[in-house]
């Protein structure tokens, strides 16, 4: 199965900024429409969407398969938790630092990754995901990481006397950051850099002949990807008010990968769907059968991939394709008609 499925869309049409604005408003609406645990779950879905977007940039767009992105998520989460608990930093101030740490780590891992193609890279990153929880438990770091106990942090309240409860504020804060990350990623992936990422994925020899410095682009893409997933991890620490090694098992990396595939490989919007899927479908499975939720989840997943082999984004694209084409053809005819 080819990793690539997404044809890049035409940009800079008036419809696009409007659609983005509409989606941003839609994303913010639950602050006032949803309550309590459901709102918390939505917050988590938004966080997972960001993490999946990060993974999708390196794997979907650049073709470097990572089965270990949970490691960056964990490092981002611990960075924020430690800065808050041990150094008393405000939650919002920890985010840029956590982002930088994860970008640096991603860059460092991007270098050996250059020498490893396809499945070897997948296994190496997988090994990273296996190692991270144990490194977090390691007693030499216990003073900061809290060893197996982990680190507890306090839930932030809404600032400036905003009339929002803690859950609402958390959702709003998370979503505003997520929307910003999605917008910046949208720009990046539609620029010469994003095009180069996809070109390298599709046909590296031709990409090089077009003047693309593969080593440089791949390492930087890895760094950006790790940074975005790391920010998601940092947000998760704030949302869950707690980090521990067991929250970041290998399963997390697999979950992110599943979210990417069901959402749509090399799709920005697909990441949102992926986030919703990995948070709500296990819940649904639990409701259907308390005894064997894993089986139900597995069946739903298989059915889903059977019905929508190109992910949710591929499905949307198929639906919207004819409509968009008609709209675009109409627009061209009008122009010609003048």
């Amino acid at each position: 199965m080819p990793v690539a499925t997404a044809p890049a869309r035409a940009e800079s049409r008036p419809l696009v900024p409007l659609a983005i604005l509409g989606l941003a408003l839609l994303a913010l609406a639950p602050t006032f429409l949803v309550e309590g645990y459901r709102l918390f779950q939505l917050t988590l879905a938004v966080i997972y969407a960001v993490a999946i977007l990060g993974l999708n940039i390196v794997t979907g767009y650049n073709g470097q398969i990572s089965l270990g992105h949970g490691a960056f998520y964990a490092v981002g989460a611990y960075a924020t938790a430690i800065m808050m608990a041990s150094f008393g930093m405000p939650y919002w101030a920890t985010l840029p630092i956590a982002a930088l740490i994860c970008a640096g780590l991603g860059y460092a891992i991007g270098f050996p990754a250059l020498r490893l193609g396809g499945l070897y890279l997948a296994l190496t990153t997988f090994a990273l995901a296996v190692a991270v929880p144990q490194i977090l438990k390691y007693h030499a770091f216990e003073e900061w990481t809290g060893g197996v106990q982990g680190v507890f942090i306090a839930k932030p309240d809404a600032p400036f006397g905003l009339p929002l409860n803690a859950d609402q504020w958390l959702y709003l804060f998370t979503t505003v950051i997520a929307v910003a990350i999605f917008l910046l990623s949208w720009n990046l992936l539609r620029s010469r850099i994003g095009r180069a990422m996809m070109a390298i994925r599709d046909q590296p020899i031709a990409a090089e002949a077009m003047g693309m410095d593969i080593a440089r682009l791949k390492t930087r893409t890895f760094a950006v990807s790790a940074m975005i997933t790391g920010i998601a991890g940092a947000l998760s620490a704030i949302a869950v008010e707690f980090v521990s090694p067991d929250s970041f098992s290998v399963m997390l990396s697999i979950t992110l990968f599943v979210g990417m595939v069901v959402g749509g490989i090399a799709s920005i919007l697909g990441a949102v769907f992926g986030g919703l899927f990995v948070v709500f479908v296990p819940n649904l499975a639990e409701e259907i059968s308390k005894a064997a939720p894993g089986v139900i989840y597995g069946v739903i997943l298989i059915l889903f991939l059977f019905i929508l082999p190109t992910g949710f984004a591929g499905f949307l694209r198929r639906l919207a394709g004819p409509l968009l084409r008609r709209w675009r053809d109409g627009a061209t005819t009008n122009q010609d008609g003048r």
Binding site: P2, A10, R192, R195, D202, Q203
Partner: protein
């Protein structure tokens, strides 16, 4: 003597070749694919490189485009040595290329494939692109303008948004050509552009190559099996056989060269379209 140098100097500089290939040898293990070939391509010249299958044309082509590093010899472009320069620098030097067996970015649209060729014109990095800083926007607009010109020239406007993999072979070849041209190269390297085209398409290609040379004021090195096309469009032809140069001159000179006739004898006397 001083007089000679003064007279010869500026003239020599003015006619200096764009591309100079000197004594190139390429060995793969025991196989000598290219055995000491030298030739030059001048500004605005269309130079054909011909020879039977296995003569070493593609290997030589790959040396010039930086895919292979020659075992011996030197390649100079605008007087500078480019042998062994990193592959991704070639486009920046002004050397564009197409591939014998098509190497397009399969999942991307025609538009994005062609724009990818403009990568070397831009400088905006990750940060500038994500934030859409003015410089990034200016570069994108510039590339877009070049794109529209090329899509028009190569008759690709109607398929601009179509994923390239779903297009017919001949159209894909034009996309590759557009991708190689968008950065405004000084030398265009074409490896068997007529391969897989029918007679009508080959006629169109001949006219197109002349047109491109004029519009973009560039030189073309045309590696081609298709004798008829090469003889029709080239100002100069270099013939290879078993890795050695066997002729170098105008199409008429090369056509009547006994070595060339011998190399092509035993094969179909008419065009050997691949």
């Amino acid at each position: 003597m001083a007089h000679d140098a003064a007279a010869g100097g500026p003239v020599a500089a003015a006619v200096a070749a764009l591309l100079e290939v000197s004594d190139i040898v390429v060995r793969f293990g025991g196989v000598t694919a290219v055995a000491g070939v030298s030739f030059a391509v001048d500004q605005h010249q269309i130079c054909g490189l011909i020879g039977p299958n296995g003569a070493g044309k593609t290997t030589l082509f790959n040396c010039i485009s930086g895919i292979y590093r020659p075992t011996e010899g030197e390649i100079r472009f605008e007087g500078e040595t480019i042998t062994g320069a990193p592959r991704h620098r070639m486009m920046g030097f002004g050397i564009g290329r197409t591939f014998q067996n098509l190497a397009l970015f399969r999942s991307l649209s025609v538009r994005d494939n062609v724009l990818a060729g403009a990568h070397c014109l831009g400088h905006a990095g990750f940060m500038a692109s994500a934030l859409r800083l003015p410089r990034a926007r200016r570069e994108a607009a510039e590339a877009e303008a070049r794109l529209h010109h090329l899509l028009g020239l190569l008759d690709l406007e109607a398929v601009a948004e179509v994923p390239v993999a779903s297009l017919p072979f001949g159209t894909q070849k034009r996309v590759e050509l557009a991708r190689a041209l968008i950065s405004g190269p000084k030398l265009l390297l074409l490896d068997e552009p007529a391969g897989g085209l029918n007679h009508g398409e080959v006629d169109g290609l001949a006219a197109l190559l002349q047109d491109i040379r004029r519009q973009f004021s560039l030189s073309i090195l045309l590696v081609e099996h298709h004798m008829n096309l090469v003889m029709r469009v080239s100002d100069k032809v270099v013939a290879l056989d078993f890795g050695k140069k066997i002729a170098d001159g105008t199409p008429d000179e090369v056509r009547s060269e006994p070595e060339v006739i011998r190399a092509y004898l035993g094969e179909a006397p008419h065009d050997r379209a691949a």
